[in-house]
């Protein structure tokens, strides 16, 4: 029994009846199974290979509490400031859906877009096979806590052949320190359907809290799903997120993860290319400063032939910050003609910053095309000199090059309002003089 277990058991006893679907026996059993799993496993420790660079001891010590079911007020102006033009917007405050701040346009036939809590009330059978089990069957203490405590999230279901042209903006707002927020998103894109989701985490104030999200995505045959993520948690927050993707034949999936905030952030992305000709792109940018810690663990499983994966992550580390990139690509014996490319490039702007990068390629098939590489470096002195030789000051030159390094990842975002937002956030980190240049 782990020491945190009692605390969470008590917390669960207190909030169980306020959680959505509390009257559903199968869900109650599922939540209790999560709790039992957590009692057994506890939080991950540095002794676990997957967690050896990221200590979550501070989360365990913090004893974050599940939030009360009523949401605190957030000024609508703020919500709008975080909003993205041209999207359907679902706002969650402290883990619960807020219809009055959300706006969902009339949807094309065959699209269900709602909060999980709503679906559990109206149409719980839809979720029985999904929510009754640990997220994607990948057990960890965080997944188990999420299973026990999830308070809401999005449910998106696309019937075969339906294209949801308007991107879905999921805005998760935390308003208070001390909270443990567990959210769960479920996305089902049936054959030939198409959608784009933006998972966006923000905070009011600079308090410490835990935001623990699990997203389950099934991309059906020839379907296309894009998952864009912008993490702007408070600098004291703990952000833990898992994204599990099951790709069917000929499907396309794109994930772009922008990790800018959080005191400690851990993202797990696991993609299964589970049928032939599935293709995925995993892009990411982490920027850390001060004492921030940002960890991406990705896993791409080429399970069937003719899969393609393209992974490209960049990191910019300043101050005494630390980042971890662990990219595992597995090509199963059955997955002939797989094509996998992975790269991770890091820019260390300070001597005190530290990166642990580990690309891992495990190939069990023989007819495959795979390459990977990781670089860690400072700015290229040749480039710095070139700019200075044109009259640009040294500090400005360095800043401009840093901007360019990070901007490459932002430039890959097709969705214009998000791209513009990211550019603005990046510029916000630059000194005034340099902003005028770019």
């Amino acid at each position: 029994m782990n020491p945190a277990a009692d605390f969470y058991r008590d917390a669960f006893a207190r909030v169980a009846t306020t959680l959505p679907g509390s009257e559903l026996p199968w869900l109650r059993r599922g939540r209790e199974a999560g709790l039992a799993f957590f009692a057994e496993a506890g939080f991950p420790t540095l002794r676990q290979e997957d967690w050896k660079y990221t200590s979550v001891a501070a989360i365990e010590k913090s004893r974050f509490m599940p939030p009360p079911p009523t949401a605190n007020g957030v000024a609508p102006g703020l919500i709008d400031a975080w909003g993205l033009a041209g999207t359907q917007r679902l706002v969650f405050v402290n883990g619960r859906y807020q219809p009055r701040w959300s706006n969902i346009d009339p949807l094309p036939g065959g699209v269900t877009l709602a909060s999980l809590a709503e679906v559990l009330e109206r149409d719980p059978q839809r979720l029985e096979g999904v929510l009754g089990v640990l997220p994607a069957g990948y057990p960890s203490g965080f997944a188990a806590l999420n299973q026990a405590f999830f308070s809401d999230g999005v449910y998106l279901d696309l019937a075969a052949g339906v294209a949801l042209e308007t991107p879905v903006h999921l805005l998760f707002v935390t308003t208070e320190a001390g909270l443990a927020l567990h959210t769960r998103n479920v996305v089902r894109a049936e054959a030939g359907s198409r959608a784009c989701l933006i998972e966006h985490h923000v905070a009011l104030g600079d308090g410490a809290y835990l935001s623990n999200t699990a997203t389950d995505l099934v991309v059906g045959q020839d379907a296309e799903v894009e998952h864009l993520k912008l993490q702007q948690e408070s600098l004291k927050a703990f952000h833990v997120a898992a994204l599990d993707v099951d790709q069917q034949q000929g499907s396309r999936f794109v994930s772009r993860s922008f990790a800018l905030g959080g005191g400690l952030a851990r993202v797990d992305i696991r993609v299964g290319l589970n049928a032939e000709h599935a293709a995925c792109t995993l892009d990411g940018l982490y920027m850390t400063d001060g004492r921030q810690h940002s960890d991406h663990h990705t896993r791409i499983d080429h399970a069937r032939p003719y899969g393609t994966s393209r992974e490209f992550y960049k990191g910019v580390l300043a101050g005494a910050s630390r980042a971890v990139f662990n990219g595992r690509v597995i090509v199963q014996a059955d997955a002939q003609h797989s094509d996998a490319y992975q790269a991770n490039r890091n820019l260390l702007l300070s001597d005190n910053a530290e990166i642990d990068t580990k690309p891992q390629l495990e190939i069990y098939a023989d007819d495959v095309k795979c390459s990977h590489g990781a670089t860690v470096g400072q700015l290229d002195p040749e480039q710095v000199f070139y700019l200075r030789s044109r009259g640009v000051g040294e500090v400005d030159s360095r800043t401009l090059l840093t901007f360019a390094f990070a901007a490459e990842m932002i430039g890959r975002v097709d969705m214009a309002p998000l791209r513009a937002r990211l550019e603005k956030l990046l510029l916000g980190r630059l000194p005034e003089r340099v902003k005028e240049l770019v």
Binding site: P381, L387, S389, G391, V392, L400
Partner: protein, 255 residues
């Protein structure tokens, strides 16, 4: 404008320049030739302020000031421009942004207001035409994926926009096809003026058919081994560098 006296430069304790003298006056065009590895680019880099070179003796005066104590950006703002032998690729920084940053840094230094977007673009487009370059290149990352010739032209475009007082062109003609060579030479000639001086590093006397220099120098064994007029380039083309090096070696040995 530029006075180099007894310049000694080492890279990692290896002497490269060993007592180089050179005087360039406003309005003049000088050509520097010399065998591979003789130190031509080293000279250009030292003048532009690149790190990694140790000046062990001698001095360089530019417009009456000690050039060697200025940072690279200050040298640039004071009117020195180096067209690189190997222009650097800078992914993610658009050509036009570099030009804008450079122009504004220069203007700020001179106490002039920044150019507004319209005037700036008009200026750049004008020079672009001069260099026979496509507008599209402005919005591409600096030199990234440019062909060898495009890179060289881009250097001259920057020079044309920045209008330096002292231009150092390090093998700008290498890798250019005949038409591009004429265009680049045309761009350079258009900038010749009584207030401006140019130093061309080249291996080919052909360039000097288009840009006729006032003086031609041979850099060998770390110093200017021989200087002459336009005709020296032709002689070098016929006879190679052996005789100059031999003579310089004797002179050096005797000194």
């Amino acid at each position: 404008m530029l006075e180099i006296r007894n310049l000694h430069v080492s890279i990692n304790d290896k002497p490269i320049l060993r007592g180089l003298d050179l005087t360039v006056r406003a309005g003049e065009v000088h050509a520097i030739m010399g065998p591979n590895g003789s130190g031509k680019s080293t000279l250009a880099h030292v003048l532009a302020g690149r790190e990694g070179y140790t000046v062990t003796a001698g001095e360089v005066r530019y417009l009456g000031r000690n050039l060697l104590e200025l940072s690279p950006e200050l040298r640039a703002r004071e009117g020195i421009f180096l067209a690189f032998q190997y222009p650097v690729e800078i992914p993610g920084v658009a050509n036009i942004y570099l030009l804008k940053a450079a122009v504004n840094a220069l203007r700020l230094h001179r106490g002039e207001p920044e150019l507004d977007a319209v005037d700036f673009l008009a200026l750049v487009k004008d020079k672009l035409r001069l260099m026979g370059m496509d507008t599209g290149l402005l919005y591409r990352s600096v030199n990234e994926g440019f062909s060898g010739g495009e890179k060289k032209r881009n250097e001259i475009l920057q020079m044309a926009v920045l209008e330096p007082r002292l231009a150092l062109l390090d093998e700008t003609d290498s890798g250019l096809d005949i038409d591009a060579l004429k265009i680049v030479a045309g761009g350079v000639n258009a900038m010749r003026s009584p207030e401006r001086a140019m130093v061309l590093v080249t291996h080919y006397q052909r360039l000097l058919n288009y840009i006729v220099p006032d003086q031609v120098h041979v850099l060998a064994q770390g110093r200017i081994a021989l200087s002459g007029g336009r005709e020296l380039a032709l002689e070098l083309e016929n006879r190679g560098y052996g005789w100059v090096e031999a003579a310089a070696g004797q002179a050096g040995g005797g000194a």
